[in-house]
């Protein structure tokens, strides 16, 4: 299993890097097709994705609806700004008000049958980022000093 690295790269951007043992045409298809998205883009355990619409072309809209086993639903939507299969996409993403709309850029590179995804999430402003960070601090309140080494290891990648 490959390691997920996540690091802030500027004051409004966070970058995730992850490798997959598959050619990038497959990774592209799995990341953009409603056939495959509901099989993996589910977040925490206990959720399904009963609605997955994705018009994968510049200007095309996408909409995902997740449902938890207790009936709770969450919806996320956005639109594709750039689509260049199987290499690169740029798409907006929002949970709806009052959440800020982020711009996500995905780049796929392949070497020796292994595909590396570099996903950059950009907040519209430092204020929006701070709002997201405040939520993160609430959920992450239990994070202990012990994890500092792990934080630094990630931050240095």
């Amino acid at each position: 299993m490959s390691t997920l690295t996540m690091t802030p790269i500027s004051d409004t951007e966070i970058r995730a890097t992850r490798s997959f043992d598959a050619p990038r045409e497959l990774v592209w298809e799995a990341m953009t097709s409603p056939t495959y998205l509901p099989q993996w883009m589910l977040g925490p355990d206990g959720w399904t994705m009963p609605v997955c619409e994705a018009d994968v072309r510049p200007g095309g809209a996408w909409r995902y609806v997740w449902r938890k086993d207790d009936g709770t639903e969450m919806e996320m939507r956005g639109s594709y700004l750039e689509v260049d299969p199987p290499e690169r996409f740029v798409a907006t993403e929002s949970w709806g008000e009052p959440w800020p709309e982020t711009v996500n850029t995905g780049v796929l590179t392949e070497a020796g049958g292994v595909t590396t995804l570099t996903l950059t999430i950009r907040y519209p402003s430092t204020e929006a980022r701070d709002a997201a960070a405040a939520t993160g601090m609430e959920s992450g309140a239990a994070i202990s000093y012990d994890r500092l080494d792990a934080v630094l290891a990630r931050a240095s990648t």
Partner: protein, 109 residues
């Protein structure tokens, strides 16, 4: 300068990584990091000043030396933010590995 601006720089991230192993004299950091990045002593000193001023490190005199140490609180702020993404995307990508393995098997048939 806030936490995200501070960590946005690779030299500063490297300095913090070094300090995670324990307190170090400024001269040692300058030599190590300056060598790795090919930057001058004043340039490294400037990064050390940013880390100190933003609260990411503490510094104390030890004879003629100045010893730097990492300060955890500001890192926790950034980590909490990143942790949200890590948990969600970590699970997602682990499942994506399985989906891709299934796609590869089908393709071979």
């Amino acid at each position: 300068m806030n936490a995200f601006d501070v960590l946005g720089d690779p030299v500063r991230r490297r300095i913090l990584e070094l300090l995670a192993g324990g307190e170090r004299p400024a001269g040692d950091i300058v030599a190590t990091v300056g060598g790795e990045f090919g930057i001058s002593q004043p340039a490294v000193s400037q990064h050390l000043r940013v880390l100190r001023d933003s609260g990411f490190t503490t510094v104390r005199p030890d004879g003629a030396r100045r010893l730097y140490a990492v300060e955890a609180a500001p890192l926790r702020e950034v980590d909490a933010w990143i942790e949200q993404f890590r948990q969600t995307w970590g699970k997602n990508f682990d499942r994506l590995d399985q989906v891709l393995a299934g796609m590869k098997r089908k393709g071979k048939r």
